[in-house]
């Protein structure tokens, strides 16, 4: 049965149903409803909840709880994610699973509290020190946010890696009908690495320090092998009217929804344009973008930033066809009638 859910609360409920055992948060618009929802639900269910002193606190609490083997999550918005980068680097270096929700807003600095997509670089490129990329999943609807949240916990555990749900204030705060999945049972598990006390076993260590250069190199090779496995197996995207497309729009999250409408309008005008929507921002669908660039005449990228995913699209396209860009940076959602003329310009530019 479908129910009407606000994005933030829906993600919180999905995390609960995925078996979230520990949540740590700090208020920031536009994700605060997620914290508020869990501040009520987690204690009711006897699970761990702390409103921390900062996002530095929350991410390190996640690090601790996850080191203890618990399914742990935090959520924030852009400035808070910037503060978490140190912790994310440690969690990746220590190979413990963790889930982070980022309801992106406008930046840089305090920017504003309206929806944005300018965290693309800091999320997908490994915003902290060291060589790594978290897995980054970008929903375009509340339903997809719910489904990806559940999947995020599985991916985090499968790879012992950080998984970030990259939504924006629009998805966090809008209401849509959602089919909530059934709650999962939380099973006691010992996967051989979590810290639970050395009772009748050797003591364990969760750490990211490898003082010997050769040993650190090996450790990094292991992390890199994991990244390659993720790139091989976890690419996700969605397409709309791409089969006969002469032109492609590439966009993610809320921008893709806007582009979707603009594409239907363009089709009504006889323009054969389709949508490619990366769902996994890391791993980015480079191979698919390359394929598309061999079939279409030109590509338009639409983002709520100055052109961040644009760089990855260009890598995939490798200058086979022209790539143009339309972005808004005020922390606002573009209208379809801003995107339609961009599609028309794209068509004219290659004619």
């Amino acid at each position: 049965m479908k129910e009407l859910w606000e994005g933030n609360q829906a993600i919180a409920e999905a995390a609960l149903r995925a078996g979230l055992e520990a949540y740590f948060g700090y208020p920031i618009t536009p994700q605060t409803e997620l914290l508020e929802y869990l501040s009520r639900k987690m204690p009711e269910l006897g699970r761990a909840f702390v409103q921390a002193e900062s996002e530095i606190g929350t991410i390190n609490m996640v690090y601790g709880a996850a080191s203890g083997g618990a399914r742990a999550m935090t959520s924030s918005s852009s400035p808070g994610i910037s503060l978490m980068q140190e912790g994310i680097s440690y969690i990746v270096g220590s190979e413990v699973p963790a889930v982070i929700v980022d309801m992106m807003r406008g930046g840089p600095g305090l920017g504003n509290i309206a929806p944005g997509q300018a965290d693309y670089f800091q999320l997908t490129k490994g915003g902290g020190h060291g060589d790594y990329h978290p897995i980054v999943l970008a929903p375009w609807s509340v339903q997809e946010a719910v489904d990806l949240t559940i999947g995020a916990f599985d991916l985090a555990e499968k790879y012992r890696h950080v998984v970030i749900l990259a939504a924006d204030g629009n998805i966090g705060q809008m209401m849509e009908p959602v089919e909530m999945p059934a709650p999962r049972k939380i099973e006691k598990r010992d996967r051989g690495w979590e810290l639970t006390g050395a009772i009748n076993r050797e003591h364990r260590l969760i750490s990211s320090i490898y003082l010997q250069p050769e040993v650190l190199h090996k450790h990094n090779e292991k992390i890199q092998a994991k990244q390659r496995a993720i790139e091989q197996n976890q690419v996700r995207y969605h397409e709309f009217l791409m089969d006969d497309a002469e032109y492609a729009v590439i966009a993610f999250g809320t921008s893709a929804r806007v582009a979707h409408t603009a594409i239907t309008w363009a089709r009504a005008k006889g323009i054969r344009v389709g949508l490619h929507r990366p769902i996994s921002l890391y791993p980015f669908p480079y191979a698919r973008v390359a394929e598309i660039s061999k079939r279409v005449r030109a590509i338009l990228v639409v983002e709520m930033n100055a052109g961040q995913m644009l760089e990855d699209v260009r890598l995939g396209v490798a200058e086979r066809v022209p790539v143009s860009f339309y972005g808004v940076m005020g922390g606002r959602v573009p209208f379809p009638d801003e995107v339609l003329p961009e599609i028309e310009k794209l068509v004219n530019s290659v004619h």
């Binding site: 390190n60 609490m61 601790g64 709880a65 203890g68 810290l195 050395a198 320090i209």
Partner: protein, 258 residues
């Protein structure tokens, strides 16, 4: 060979691993490790204990303890310990932190762990310098004390005043047990051990946040002999950092001795 007329008076605690530490000769980090290990043995809690290591000279503490350990980012040990304790409330969770780690970069984390009454124990090693990075001025460096980043002595006009952590944290309602001890002579070593035991007992009885500040020597960065370093603790540090019980909350009273 042990014969009938001999008895064991000194041996390696079970909670310590039998390896050589990396600490400098005369450094009292090792003494403090041993005290914690002896207490874990005596209380029979080694197996249910999870330690959180800091960034500082004691970053490798996990090599010396036979219990589970996590390695935190610089200053974040109390937050990491919070996460661990919240998901393992029946385990004993302690952090071991230097003064740079706890009283500079990690000030927010420690104050809020104490304010929340987080049921963890903190062993706070105050040696008045950043040991690991080569003896720079720490938040606890004494006024006038020479360090590699206060070469003419800490000028309080320029660098401000040292932090007295025990006095500060004693203000927190959530703090159950906050004391300052020292390990510069055998009598004080024994008192420190008792305080470590008290702190862990407070935690075991869910009485709230506990912290033992321990004045410790750093002969290497102070540029002294091991003996003179102990003298420095006694003559220079004690007057500025008086030993004592700064907070024993009612909730903790029945779980402490001495």
């Amino acid at each position: 060979m042990l014969t009938d007329d001999m008895q064991v008076v000194y041996e390696c605690p079970d909670a310590l691993t039998d390896v050589i530490t990396h600490y400098c000769p005369g450094c009292t980090h090792g003494v403090i490790h041993r005290l914690i290990a002896e207490v874990l043995d005596e209380m029979g809690i080694r197996e249910k204990t999870i330690g959180v290591a800091p960034v500082g000279c004691s970053v490798f503490i996990y090599n010396y303890f036979d219990c589970d350990f996590a390695q935190a980012a610089h200053g974040r040990a109390p937050a990491m310990a919070t996460g661990l304790k919240r998901v393992h409330p029946d385990r004993v969770v302690f952090t071991y932190q230097g003064d740079g780690d706890l009283a500079a970069i990690g000030t927010a984390e420690i104050i809020h762990a104490a304010a929340r009454g987080e049921n963890i124990s903190v062993f706070f090693v105050n040696n008045a310098v950043y040991g690991m990075t080569g003896g720079q001025m720490a938040p606890t460096t004494l006024p006038g004390m020479k360090t590699t980043s206060s070469p003419t002595g800490r000028d309080v006009e320029l660098a401000g005043f040292p932090l007295r952590v025990s006095e500060l944290l004693a203000q927190m309602t959530g703090a159950a047990y906050v004391v300052r001890r020292s390990v510069h002579d055998p009598g004080n070593i024994n008192k420190t051990k008792k305080a470590i035991r008290n702190a862990l007992n407070v935690q075991l009885n869910q009485a709230g946040f506990s912290l033992v500040e321990i004045l410790s020597s750093c002969p290497t960065n102070w540029g002294t002999s091991a003996l003179d370093a102990l003298k420095f603790v006694k003559e220079q540090m004690l007057p500025f950092y008086p030993l004592g019980d700064y907070k024993v909350a009612d909730s903790a009273k029945s779980f402490i001795v001495g």
